[in-house]
Symmetry: C2
Subunit: 90 residues, 2 copies
DNA sequence: TGTTTTGTTCTTGTCAATAGAAACAAGGAT
DNA sequence: ATCCTTGTTTCTATTGACAAGAACAAAACA
C-alpha cells in the first residue's frame, strides 16, 4: 500500500472534526489557504461563473482558474460529482 | 462554513477510493509526493527512529523531520493517535 | 566535567505553484 | 465581416516549502 493510499484510507474512516484538525496539523496555513482557494474555484466553476469573474472575486490568476477547469474536464468525474452535490444542497 | 471545513465534511463522507482519486485531481503530483513524505516521516517518528535516520532513509532535510516532530508534540493528539493506531495494526 | 548523541535552528540556494499582465484562440452576437 | 466576450497559454517575477550543511542546544552517559 502506498503512503498516499494509506492516507486516503485513514481519511475515509475519520470524522469531519478530526479531519479538520488533522489537515491543520499536516499542512501549513498557506497550504490550507491554497487548498481552500482551489476548492472555491472548482465550486464557482460549477456555478457557471466566468473564469474572469472567479479570478477577480478570489484574487487569483486566470491561469489558476483554467487549471481548475481542466480538472473538471479530464477527471473521472469525482470532483465534478462533488460540486454538483454541493450545489443541489442549496 | 469555511471552505476547508466543507472539504473536511466532504472527505468524511467519501470512500477510500474516491478520496484517492479526488486527491489526485486537486493536488499536483509533487504535492502528493510531499504529502506522502510528511506522512511517512510522522510514522517513522512514531516508531522511534532518530531524526537523522529518518532524514537519511527518506532523503529529506533534518529541519523537515523536526517540523514533523513538532506536530506530534503540539498537536491535539489526532495525528499522534493515528500513527499509534497504524502501529498497532502490525 | 567533558564527550557523544540527538534534537533544533539558521543560512544559502533551488524548485514548484502562483500572480499579474499580455497575447492568442474560439465562438457568438450584431 | 467585425467586434466582443470568454477561455487558454505564455512570460517574468514572487513566494513558500525544501535540501544541504553548519551551528547551536539539550540530554545522556562515561
Amino acid at each position: 500500500m502506498t503512503d498516499i493510499k494509506e492516507l486516503a484510507n485513514i481519511l475515509s474512516k475519520m470524522s469531519e472534526k478530526d479531519i479538520l484538525v488533522f489537515l491543520h496539523e499536516i499542512l501549513t496555513e498557506s497550504e490550507i489557504s491554497d487548498l481552500s482557494k482551489r476548492w472555491r474555484i472548482l465550486k464557482m466553476l460549477g456555478e457557471n461563473f466566468t473564469q474572469r469573474e472567479i479570478a477577480n472575486k478570489l484574487n487569483v490568476g486566470l491561469c489558476k482558474v483554467t487549471r481548475g477547469a481542466k480538472i473538471l474536464k479530464n477527471s473521472n468525474a469525482i470532483t465534478l460529482k462533488l460540486i454538483k452535490e454541493i450545489k443541489n444542497e442549496h
